[in-house]
Chain length 420, copies 2
């Protein structure tokens, strides 16, 4: 029998306890032994919770109890769970966490501390989708060429509604807040930070790269306008907030930002609050994994899968990603060196010479135009919409600055990267 | 070090040997030990093959060699590989196979014979997609409510082209044969038998049900006409050949047939030669797994993942599916008891009384109509296209017979089940 202690008994913690109880018969059969949730730690004992396990406010009732084999950490935050997880591992307890922020900052250190003690976190990326399992086991024969992930359901819901129903960013943000998909302060979701934490975890599995959120390119969806949406629809693109990890030579691109992506791509078809992660391996080609990225039961499904796995194996399996490319020195690609195609929307005054000026600035920065269209706006102005051939991030950023100061572009240019 | 012998060095076997060599550095790191392909068995030594391992025509050079740890069976057929796999397991060798026909007929027996010796077959279902891994590990906390799979790339390619480009079944079959997607005798693919073998494997994992292809409903795509395709498009359905496993009470539905399925469903968006498998768990909700269902490297990716897993674990993990629902007696639902919605296409003579007769026959068989439309044909005839509310397979089959003999239906009625 294995005893489980749950630290943080909110929506997910409640589901973890209840799944272990509700599905006890199959879980026992699949794990090869009984798994019993015995105690949960909460900060407020007075709050009504739908669980039958004993509750306490004292985390030491788990950490100091030698009969507890597995600690499930679901408290949120970074520093406090970091101390608790460390203590649990030092006590020899297996740890399962869904805490993506903790992992984005401390995964390597904790994994090293864990050594052979299981330290698992399937639920931290894309909720119920077994993507870490897929990378570590199912795709283990492959060099991972790239990962593209829709890993924030809030953003995907908002973008889907903007595209399908023409609602504006502000309207849909309000609706998402009313539906409980977005927080009162939505920055963590719409700013791309939540997706970035998840991307760093996937990047660490696929490439063994250890960088922090501060090191990578993160842009949110706050500046996507209806004019951009219309352009996308006209050219059969979808707009998605993607987390992208890609290996180019010995460098790893890691970035989170909105993309224009062909409607035909499987990942572009992932709509609403759902998550989807496309993984390209050198042998398997493209695979995609789809499912609920949030919600108590879906997230708990992944936590319990880790618990069952720990019960089966006893010890952790070798961490794929730590020795992804033995002997090869990989490093993070500096963000200004990223190469991709770009979409630009420029509000310009509709008069002669404007186009020449825009074209000159782009040309001077080694940016060649793939397609262009001009759409009249109210007043004397027009939207100049264009896409580029592949160029370098550094060049496009410089060109955008020059366009801003050129006198012919009337407001801050809008730029969206195009993903093949 | 683990030594691997490969029996059958065709497209997949060649890829297995080459991946083990090409990706040796990551595979060694991930497996925790070196894995070496040492010998392959072929029937014709004269044929040029792109492998560097030793080849022989004598299978005993693998079976009788105690230094070979893992046997990869890729010969095809049923009885001969059955004998070889048995012998390998009795010798204590781990076995990895991609042979779906062998598994559809002999999996339980071989699994029991294997006991703690690893006997793995990820590549037998949907090529490179790690779906068995997902069922056994990633979704292990869940009762599986249903599985819907596009598991035959040939059929999916043909249906996609029929829908997108309006080509007829016979034209596209010829094209698929020219492209090498379909065999000269295409029955195994287009008749649904290949998909059925894969479905039985998934059903055995998800539900521990042991039935043979002969026991289940299998229909192919041979009778899908352009009239059906047009109807589907008009009502925003896609047409897919699905393998379906579903738990209803203590009974398991297992069936392979074309379906009309809403274009909005994620699985309906899987086009071309690609495979996709949707799994609904009681906790995780819907997940979907997408990728290449065939091809040497994609299939070999799954074979090698199994080999790495065996190297890591040493012994097999408990087989999820054998004790899926301990204490519960499950059985196969008789095919005539299946309940779903149906689409019917009836070629009728365009004269008064026809509709009344059709409606009476359906009503007498407890079938209520959900939607109906009539489309004129050349001559005096018309196509009557209708969909039903949920009813029982037995009733619809009886009604179709009565319609055939009614005098008002001029050719064999076309029926397609509708999948929610």
């Amino acid at each position: 029998m294995l005893k489980v202690g749950i630290i943080g008994v909110g929506t997910v913690g409640t589901s973890v306890a209840n799944i272990l109880i509700d599905n006890k018969n199959i879980i026992t059969a699949r794990a090869g032994k009984e798994i019993v949730p015995t105690i949960g730690v909460v900060s407020n004992l007075g709050k009504k919770r739908d669980v039958s396990i004993k509750l306490t406010t004292n985390v030491d009732e788990i950490l100091e109890d030698d009969s507890i084999d597995i600690v499930v950490e679901l408290m949120g935050g970074i520093e406090k769970p970091y101390e608790i997880v460390k203590k649990a591992l030092l006590k020899g307890k297996a740890v399962v966490t869904a805490n993506k922020a903790l992992l984005a900052y401390h995964r390597y250190e904790l994994q090293e501390l864990a050594g052979d003690i299981p330290f698992e976190f399937e639920a931290a990326v894309a909720g119920g989708i077994p993507i870490i399992n897929a990378l570590r086991d199912g795709l283990s024969a492959n060099h991972i060429k790239s990962i593209q992930g829709i890993m924030n359901g809030t953003c995907n819901y908002m973008l889907t509604r903007m595209i399908n129903d023409g609602v504006s960013y502000n309207e849909i943000l309000k609706e998402a807040q009313e539906l409980g998909y977005a927080e009162a302060d939505p920055t963590f979701d719409v700013g791309g930070f939540d997706a970035a934490h998840k991307l760093l975890i996937l990047g660490s599995i696929a490439y063994g790269i250890d960088v922090k959120p501060e090191d990578i390119l993160i842009e949110g969806i706050e500046n996507i306008s209806n004019a951009d949406i219309e352009f996308a629809k006209e050219f059969e693109y979808s707009i998605k907030l993607l987390g992208i990890a890609k290996k180019v030579g010995n460098e790893i691109e890691l970035r989170v930002h909105p993309v224009l992506i062909s409607e035909d791509k499987m990942i572009a078809k992932v709509d609403g609050v759902m998550n989807g992660i496309s993984v390209v391996g050198d042998k398997v080609g493209e695979t995609m994994f789809y499912g609920a990225g949030a919600g108590g039961d879906a997230t708990a499904s992944a936590v319990v899968a880790n618990i069952i796995d720990i019960a089966r194996k006893g010890k952790g399996s070798p961490m794929l990603g730590f020795e992804n490319q033995p002997g090869e020195q990989i490093s993070l690609m500096p963000k200004e060196n990223i190469r991709t195609k770009y979409y630009l929307r420029l509000e310009v005054s509709d008069k002669s010479g404007t186009l020449a000026k825009v074209a000159t600035i782009l040309g001077d920065n080694s940016i060649s135009i793939e397609a262009m269209m001009q759409k009249p706006l109210k007043s004397q102005n027009a939207n100049l919409l264009l896409t580029t051939h592949t160029c370098i991030e550094r060049d496009i950023l410089k060109a955008i600055k020059e366009l801003e100061n050129s006198g012919v572009v009337l407001s801050k240019p809008s730029m969206i990267r195009i993903e093949a």
